[in-house]
């Protein structure tokens, strides 16, 4: 008899769970429909594909590298709250890095997943794009802080190791952001770039893997086109390099 009472009480309360979840999680459930307006450029494909986005002209970037010595250029892609950065690895390391093996090769379906080697863009084939958000727990990476030791948070100018300030994850950029230290579970996602030789414009056309996201489990590159309000990352203005210690 008492067991029946408990069970029927549970049944009576059960219909309240969904209304409560709907009420508390109102915004979370809206995310899918409001994501579109956060795309950086005219997005004709909607959520089905990555938009093509002009990042910067090579002349402006080269001028920044020469005048300030800052080989890092920030932009937001594909959403306005998702910072990424271009890095000229030749200017950073002083040696040519013409191509990088895609660490995510074959892991995702579609044309972006079948890219085996990511070629650098620009006249020297030395410019690459990376996400600026750590895939461990979503901290923003200090790629603009140039440091001389990989043990300090920032971008190490000798080995191109990007060190996250939160839990010490270390990504080796010249090998495609593979993890060389710390708890990060996977390599840093790269932005696939396109270079128009006639005009010198650099475009972003996609990423090789999903970025970090706490609230939306992103498993395919197209999931990147969902807006995540958990972190409103801000994109540093260029040029923004500083010396770290």
């Amino acid at each position: 008899m008492r067991l029946y009472l408990v069970v029927s009480a549970a049944i009576a309360i059960a219909p309240l769970v969904k209304p409560l979840a709907d009420y508390v999680g109102y915004f979370y459930n809206e995310l899918g429909t409001i994501s579109k307006k956060y795309l950086v450029v005219n997005n004709n494909d909607g959520l089905a594909g990555f938009p093509k986005y002009k990042i910067v002209n090579i002349k402006d970037f080269q001028q920044q590298v020469q005048s300030t010595g800052c080989p890092v250029y920030f932009f937001a892609y594909p959403l306005t709250n998702e910072p990424c950065f271009l890095v000229d690895l030749e200017a950073l390391l002083g040696k040519p890095v013409p191509q990088i093996e895609n660490p995510y090769y074959g892991q995702f379906a579609g044309p972006l997943g079948s890219i085996k080697v990511i070629k650098g863009v620009g006249p020297n084939n030395s410019i690459y794009g990376f996400s600026d958000v750590c895939v461990h727990l979503g901290c923003q990476l200090p790629a603009q802080v140039l440091v001389t030791s990989p043990n300090d948070p920032g971008l190490d100018i000798e080995d191109s190791i990007l060190h996250c300030p939160c839990h010490g994850s270390m990504y080796l950029l010249e090998k495609g952001g593979i993890v060389v230290g710390g708890p990060a579970p996977r390599p840093l996602p790269m932005v696939i770039l396109e270079y128009d030789e006639s005009t010198g414009d650099i475009y972003a056309v996609g990423t090789n893997a999903p970025y970090f996201s706490a609230s939306i489990p992103r498993t395919t590159p197209t999931d990147n086109l969902l807006y995540d309000p958990r972190y409103d990352y801000s994109t540093p203005s260029n040029p923004s390099c500083s010396k770290g210690g």
């Binding site: 999680g25 230290g181 708890p183 579970p185 990352y233």
Partner: protein, 507 residues
């Protein structure tokens, strides 16, 4: 009850109440004589710290604006009379509460106070510990300073690796519209939710404390571990012979317990007052004006600041630095579930028969592993903010557990256990009705009690007079006022100890 002679006015009043409300037996239990030592009152210390937090929290909430948290915090600290003091009190009070909670938990683990029939009391207690840490986590975020807000949001992200869709549950509760109406620009509306959760979790803590105390009053205090032989009951009510014949077990007048409770509360309050006034929490006093030293949250600087959690979360931070986040989540959940299920592990896996630590070798070894690795992890993580540790961290933890079992278990099992058992055999549990003569020891002579009372009274009057004089300028003097208030509370608690708890120097 004790004999009629010993009962004072208060006891007669309590008995009058008892006849009408039935407070004895299930609401308030008079304690035996052996329980008048501080380790039987550690829970009271935690409860006092909680009451203190509720009072100071309600007071600082009067000036808190969740739509513009940082500005309202600095306003409270720099402009409002006693604002800086209250902020410092609330923050230090939280540290003190978490610390006392850990001490209380450790003590009850050592004396086996979770053994049957107190398993549910331990589980409610671990839920309380979890709620208290949640409360501390939520409160840490509320000033919205650079480090605390980054640490909070990073902490939320770690739920995305949790099994059982815990991440989905957390997302439902914490994903909010960044353009929520009424929130200042540049402020995450999540902080408004966290403020509400901070109250809700506080209410839940109160609820579970009620449950915890109800179970406590049902079972009463534990018998001393040295007296409980293997297989014997662990409830004081089962030892009526002892209570009647052994003066150490003699039930004391309720007045003594009340005195102890008031003393403990004043002592805790006084200590928090004293610490918080001597070391203002994240506040510098510059030319008499208190100023909050933590910078405001801003996303660009946040990327270059290691978001270190507060000290009680360093051991979790350690796991997330050491291994992949999914494994760290598993370790974290495993840690929690072993803590909750500890009484059942002891009961059904280790099958220990008595609460004495020497008779529980496996439990003590396991629990010591937890305590030692908690300390090692916290110190290690605190020394390496933002640096990688690597799997060596978790391996060291494993070695600690193995060492605890290879050193502590044989020591307790083969060295300590035979001695304890032999000692237990040598005394009879019941003494055949022979009443042992109890010598009324005097801890302090009457003269010393008189002198102490005069000193305390003078100190009290002096510090309250100083508080009155200093309160002319509350902004400048608030921390000195806090010191005097803390000092007077400690003095008051000492006077209660002398005059009520040990009855003018008698033990």
């Amino acid at each position: 009850m004790t004999n009629e002679k010993q009962q004072g006015l208060f006891d007669r009043f309590m008995r009058w109440l008892d006849e009408r409300l039935g407070i004895y037996g299930h609401t308030l239990r008079p304690a035996p004589r052996y329980a008048y030592s501080i380790d039987y009152w550690l829970g009271g210390l935690v409860l006092s710290a909680f009451i203190f937090e509720v009072i100071t929290g309600a007071l600082i909430a009067l000036y808190y604006t969740p739509s513009d948290p940082y500005t309202s915090t600095t306003y409270l600290i720099s402009k409002v009379p006693y604002g800086a003091l209250l902020f410092s009190l609330h923050s230090w009070g939280a540290y003190v509460m978490v610390f006392l909670l850990l001490v209380h938990m450790t003590r009850n683990f050592v004396v086996g106070a979770y053994r049957p029939p107190r398993e549910l009391m331990w589980i409610v207690g671990t839920i309380l510990a979890g709620l208290t840490l949640t409360e501390a986590y939520l409160g840490y975020s509320l000033p919205y300073n650079l480090i605390s807000w980054v640490a909070t949001t990073t902490g939320l992200n770690l739920f995305s690796y949790m099994p059982f869709h815990l991440g989905y549950l957390i997302s439902l509760m914490t994903v909010v519209n960044p353009n929520q109406p009424g929130i200042m620009s540049g402020v995450d509306p999540l902080v408004q939710r966290f403020f509400v959760f901070h109250w809700i979790v506080g209410g839940l803590i109160l609820l579970f404390i009620g449950l915890h105390l109800y179970i406590f009053e049902k079972h009463g205090i534990t018998p001393p571990v040295s007296q409980v032989k293997p297989g014997y009951p662990e409830l004081i009510d089962e030892y009526q012979d002892k209570i009647r014949s052994d003066p150490k077990w003699e039930i004391q007048p309720l007045m003594r317990s009340i005195g102890m409770v008031v003393m403990i509360m004043l002592l805790t309050f006084g200590l928090i007052f004293f610490i918080a006034s001597v070391i203002p929490f994240d506040i510098t006093v510059n030319g008499g004006i208190p100023k909050y030293i933590m910078p405001a949250f801003n996303p660009v600087e946040a990327a270059q600041t290691p978001p270190v959690p507060d000290w009680y979360f360093l051991f979790i931070y350690f796991f997330y630095k050491s291994v992949s986040p999914y494994n760290a989540s598993l370790i974290f959940l495993g840690w929690i579930s072993i803590t909750i299920l500890f009484p059942f592990i002891e009961e059904y896996v280790f099958r220990h028969k008595a609460p004495h630590p020497a008779l529980r070798p496996a439990s003590i070894a396991l629990g010591t592993g937890f305590i030692v690795s908690f300390i090692v992890n916290s110190v290690w993580a605190g020394l390496t903010p933002g640096r990688d540790i690597g799997p060596i961290g978790v391996e060291v933890d494993g070695i600690i557990f193995v060492l605890c079992f290879t050193i502590i278990w044989p020591l307790l099992r083969f060295v300590a256990q035979p001695r304890v058992l032999a000692k237990m055999e040598s005394f009879p549990l019941t003494d055949g009705g022979v009443v042992i003569e109890y010598k009324n020891r005097r801890l302090l002579s009457g003269f010393i009690v008189l002198i102490l009372n005069i000193l305390i009274l003078t100190g009290l009057i002096y510090s309250l007079y100083k508080v009155y004089i200093l309160s002319i300028n509350p902004i400048i003097n608030q921390f000195i006022i806090g010191q005097f208030l803390g000092f007077s509370m400690i003095l008051f608690s000492i006077s209660i100890f002398i005059n009520m708890v040990i009855e003018n120097g008698k033990s």
